[in-house]
């Protein structure tokens, strides 16, 4: 890892003036809360990370861990009436959370684009694929002629591997297969050459055989364009395929963050262990059962005090009760590895021991 770093020992960074560093995307102490009749939902609670151009970040976590809320927060897609978004999102030197919504709208689709989970519901059923792509293009290129935009749409469809793009461009979403729809969705997201692409569970709704194709496509396009990619998933397989960095989220907070190879080879957080142990693998012995993480994700209205994972953590007792009371800060795992951070009260020695004795053999 060769990039410069700004790390303050905790997951929460005090809001500063100006761009924090040279990072292309920098999220600092992002909090997204929803006022509901049942109470305040803390969907994202103090998330900090950064991402450079040309790199892919995988955000992993269970349903309800705040992954999608984070991505919509970066895109500025939360309706102001319902969501309370605080913190900072810096995109290429520009702060978005407190920016004029009109300015954020102009960036949306042009500088940052998004791919959604289910391309059937995410595309308008009444407009042709081509019409939806040209619309995305022309809103940011108002001077472009209808015809030119149409050509651009065909070109984009060709680029994402749609056969006979000049014919298929006039088809409607329901005439495409699931994989083709997701390709079209990617074409629509990339039509303005965005520098940041956020993919929210881009393969979850797809056939397994198509999933790999779509991931390959995203990776190839990223290499081609040098854009930054945030990929949100609950599937560690997807992350292994595509991500340079991994951020493990739980209850709206970052549990572990680091380069993918580090997180896979030396995972530090008991929650990450749980995710890895519950992942099916081809080389696993047939009789070994997948190990689920006991319990359920916590209610985001009443997040457990201390480490939010402690009620489900098998090793919480080793922390002398600190897990139940104190929020663990996000700190580097060790001095030679400042990029790999973890929020856990276990001592590095304990983690090392538990991982090698207890967890690794089961993986």
């Amino acid at each position: 890892m060769k990039r410069p770093h700004l790390r303050t020992g905790t997951g929460t960074v005090t809001a500063g003036e100006g761009p924090p560093d040279s990072a292309f995307l920098s999220v600092r102490d992002l909090r997204i809360h929803f006022d509901t009749d049942d109470g305040l939902v803390r969907a994202v609670d103090g998330l900090t990370f950064r991402l450079d151009r040309g790199r892919a970040l995988g955000i992993v976590g269970e349903s309800g861990s705040g992954k999608s809320v984070t991505s919509l927060g970066i895109m500025g897609l939360h309706r102001s009436g319902r969501a309370r978004v605080t913190g900072e999102v810096w995109l290429d030197g520009e702060e978005l959370v407190n920016a004029d919504p009109e300015r954020v709208r102009q960036l949306r689709g042009r500088k940052m684009a998004m791919i959604f989970q289910d391309p059937l519901t995410a595309m308008h059923p009444f407009y042709s694929i081509g019409r939806q792509i040209t619309e995305a293009y022309r809103v940011h290129h108002p001077d472009v002629h209808r015809k030119q935009a149409h050509e651009r749409a065909v070109e984009m469809l060709a680029r994402v591997g749609i056969p006979q793009p000049d014919k298929r461009v006039d088809d409607y979403p329901h005439q495409f297969s699931g994989g083709m729809r997701q390709r079209a969705m990617i074409a629509m997201a990339l039509v303005n050459d965005p520098d940041l692409l956020i993919a929210d569970e881009p393969t979850t709704a797809l056939d397994v055989t198509v999933q790999a194709q779509i991931l390959d496509l995203i990776r190839d396009l990223q290499r081609e364009t040098g854009s930054a990619v945030v990929i949100i998933t609950h599937d560690l397989g997807v992350v292994a395929e595509i991500a340079d960095d991994i951020l493990v989220m739980y209850a709206g907070r970052c549990m572990e963050h680091g380069p993918a190879e580090q997180v896979f080879s030396r995972p530090q957080h008991p929650y990450t262990w749980g995710l890895l142990a519950s992942m099916p693998r081809i080389n696993r012995e047939r009789q070994d059962r997948l190990l689920p993480i006991e319990g359920n994700p916590p209610s985001l209205i009443r997040v457990p005090p201390g480490c939010p994972f402690h009620p489900r953590c098998r090793y919480a007792l080793l922390t002398d009760g600190r897990s139940n009371t104190e929020v663990p800060p996000l700190v580097p795992v060790d001095a030679d590895d400042p990029d790999h951070t973890v929020a856990c009260h276990l001592t590095p020695e304990d983690r090392q021991r538990i991982f090698s004795e207890d967890v690794a053999p089961g993986l």
């Binding site: 895109m75 689709g109 998004m114 308008h124 059923p125 009444f126």
Partner: protein
Amino acid sequence: MTAYIVRRVIAAIFLLIAVTMITFGIFFLVPRLAGETSTQLAAQYVGRDPSPEALAAVEKNLGFDQPIYQQWWEFAHGIVAGRTFRYGPDASVCHVPCFGYSFKSHLPVWPEIVSRLPVTISLAAGAAVIWVVTGVAIGVLSALKRGSVFDRLSMGLALAGVSLPIFFTALLSLALFSYKWPIFPNLQYVPLTQDPLLWAKNLVLPWVTLAFLYSALYARLTRAGMLETMSEDYIRTARAKGLPERQVVVRHGLRAALTPIITIFGLDLGLLLGGAVLTETAFSLPGVGQYAVEAITDNDLPQILAVTTLAAFFIVAANLVVDVLYVAVDPRVRYK
């Protein structure tokens, strides 16, 4: 598509035949079930204390002495091919489409009903324009400002609009705006061709009264539809593209929410063209609806048949138009 339309038209013709048969059946069978003879039936259309000869003549003239199926056949045949009535030595030719002569007034039914059509069309079309524009606009704004004062106020008003019967709102509007404050005095139908301004002016109250009910329905429908579509994934996609909110609402939200409304609009309009009975009666508009009321009060079979057939025709036609239109509106729909 053409094959589909042809099939639908054929089905519609059969449906219209069935409607005339049922109407015929009700008219003749119900009195018979109650034990009335055809002579007693004929007595309704003769003056007081008729001589038995006169009664028999009327019974024969109206065709009541023949079996029902034959009467129906002659009627149906008349619609398609015209009919010649013989009264002793005199004969009168009734041209296609012949719905016969009124039992009461002895005037041919079809020209009479055709002369009333413009009134009903004027009323329905004008009201339709008002209710679609206001209903959809209010519905969209309510949905976008859900829970706001505007939303509550307009939905409260819509509830009133849906609940209040036309004869009440019609009489209220007449009492207020024609009598108490005579902004629209001496309401009387004036044909469009004769004086367009007066035509419009005299139709304002009926239009608004009729549109009030339908606007309320459409506002509620549009609001519900918009609330649903605005939470769809494709709306989020539209926003993610960076579209301005106006375009998101109109091109993506409203476009999808309007589809079911177009369907209902077609059917409502078809229904009204068959006669807006209450509104026409309340405002004394000489339209098809008023004609229908007269026909039923007089128990005048040719009139009743003509009105029901016409109303059924409009409903069937509206259904067909809506179904065909749906293909244009929703690309997912294809008929084979």
